[in-house]
């Protein structure tokens, strides 16, 4: 019997929150085709994650918990997904458009010569066909897309665009165990090490982002003796990210972002860069502090729901995008917001 598959992405044995958003999108497609919604869970702890998927709406699950699938490796995962698609011809396969979701579905779509719509913003399933909207030209234009032909369509959904279902603790799914498609000696990649980046909330999943820019260098604190010039600016900006930006992000349960200017100047690591050659984000609230709002930066944050601009230069382009503008010194304003939010949110 045919089905709609949703890959439930996990990291270190836990489902990532956006996986449930993909499951919601999958339900829309499954209901349209009148077929069961099947969760695919690969890797450590697969059975427990499958049980959780049932509470979010999956009626079936295919699980494979094998040593070769412990770390996500696209060749191992794609070989298994491709085998499942070839054997069972599901109507559709969906996943979150995360780094792993994008490459897994692209790989399997290529293996099976199937159509793929990646990183979609909306989905319409009617009369057995699916159309979707995507952002193109650095988010300056939208495209409508349709799929032609193929037994199985592949779709990845941008995180924070579909709403996860409210879990129903009583729901359960019919679980089937499947064997991996490749053995360790058939795999060409080996994960040597992994180093977590401490304290980072995932930017793509964050509902609130607090970002700093070039203005972070205007820290009124003095750099330590002997540190001067560019090094003093770097010290001041780093101190500001640690002691002014991060505390606010923490109180709001958000992530820390940065402009390209701040990253290139060495104020913070590239992992935090929002913009055209960094990450594209769409939080509910984007607080831009000491960021002028260059086009490069706009490309990464223009779909944010509410933009708050804090800058001492009232003429900065960032104010043209903002819902709320606060002209002034970020080193005075951000700590005040942190204190106020702490009080009001009772933290």
């Amino acid at each position: 019997m045919s089905a709609v598959y949703v890959w439930i992405e996990t990291f270190q044995g836990k489902a990532i929150p956006a996986a449930w958003e993909a499951l919601s999108a999958g339900k829309q497609v499954a209901d349209q085709f009148g077929v069961p919604l099947t969760a695919l869970v690969f890797g450590a702890n697969a059975a427990a994650v499958a049980a959780e998927a049932a509470t979010y709406g999956a009626s079936q699950a295919l699980v494979s918990d094998d040593a070769t699938l412990k770390d996500f490796r696209v060749e191992a995962y794609a070989a298994l997904l491709t085998k499942l698609v070839k054997d069972n011809a599901p109507k559709a396969v969906l996943a979150v458009a995360s780094s792993r979701g994008r490459e897994l579905l692209a790989a399997s779509a290529a293996d099976t010569d199937s159509p793929l719509l990646g990183d979609i913003l909306s989905l319409s399933a009617e009369g057995g066909s699916v159309t979707a909207e995507r952002a193109v030209y650095a988010g300056k234009v939208l495209s409508e897309n349709a799929i032609t032909g193929g037994a199985t369509m592949f779709i990845t959904v941008r995180s924070r665009t579909f709403k996860a279902a409210t879990p129903n603790a009583a729901a359960s799914a019919e679980v089937t165990t499947v064997a991996p498609a490749l053995s360790e000696d058939q795999l060409t990649t080996k994960v040597e090490s992994f180093e977590a980046e401490v304290g980072t909330v995932n930017l793509s999943d964050a509902a609130i982002i607090v970002s700093g820019g070039r203005g972070m260098a205007n820290n009124p604190k003095d750099a330590p003796a002997g540190v001067s010039g560019d090094a003093a600016a770097v010290w001041k900006a780093k101190d500001g990210f640690d002691n002014v930006i991060k505390p606010l992000a923490d109180v709001l349960g958000g992530a820390v972002g940065a402009s390209r200017a701040a990253v290139d100047a060495g104020y913070i690591s590239y992992a935090h860069q929002v913009g055209q050659t960094g990450k594209v984000v769409a939080p509910d609230v984007y607080i831009a502090a000491g960021i002028s709002g260059a086009i490069q930066h706009q490309a990464g944050m223009r779909s944010s729901k509410i933009i708050v601009a804090i800058n001492k230069d009232a003429e900065s382009p960032i104010f043209k995008m903002a819902r709320y503008g606060l002209v002034g010194d970020l080193y005075a304003i951000l700590p005040a917001i942190t204190a106020e939010a702490k009080k009001r949110l009772d933290k």
Binding site: E103, A110, L116, K190, V191, I208, L252
Partner: protein, 259 residues
Amino acid sequence: MHVVVFTRSTPDTAAKVEVDGSGKVTWGDAALVVNPWDEYALEEGIVQSKASGGKATVIAIGGELHNEALKHSLAMGLDEAARVWDAALEGADSLAYATAAAAAVKKVGAVDLVIFGRESIDVGTDQHAYQTARKLGYTLLSYVSKIISIDPSAQTIKVERALEEGKQVVTAKLPAVITVLKDINEPRYPSFIGIRKASKAVIPEWSLADLGVTLPTVNAKVTKFKNLPPRDTRFELIDGTPEEQAKKLVDRLLEEKVL
């Protein structure tokens, strides 16, 4: 070691891109540039091919506008360029792109490493890179932030990848397709001599027949381009002392139910 880099031309970052009355995407007289992510791929192609005394070839798939990116690549120092174009590739989706790209790599010959930038900003996708790897049957390593080592004789590569959660070190077998991030290198500017040489270069155009390939019949295609919905232009300037500003802002955000 023979390295192939894929690139394409995109409108300049500052260009105002919109959909005109006839439904076509336009960017006025804004200049075309190399897809911003590809600059890192091109630089890495030069570095890796030179390190092994090999060669770097740059390929674009698409119409004549992509010669712009190819000439820039040659001016930077890549050795050879080719462009794949065929009427059947008009509006190609990632699967069609990958099918043509893989065939182009095979035509180039014994290739050890294929490099893509993280994403093509015009089509807004990265999936063509992963699909090219699968069509070639090469190892795929995405989000590479550093090439730690390459051993062309043992056909192995060791890289650092930037995942959402942190950094991963992976060893793999060559040939491989990698996609690269901004922190992998500092792209060079084309030299004056490079620009002169590139301006005289005649870039061969390969058709699908030249590549001996036909495209899949399934596709996921754009049916329509649309301008963005009008922005919410409401703006409120919040003034006062920092404490007053903070209080008013938190009031507003609580009213909007986003905290």
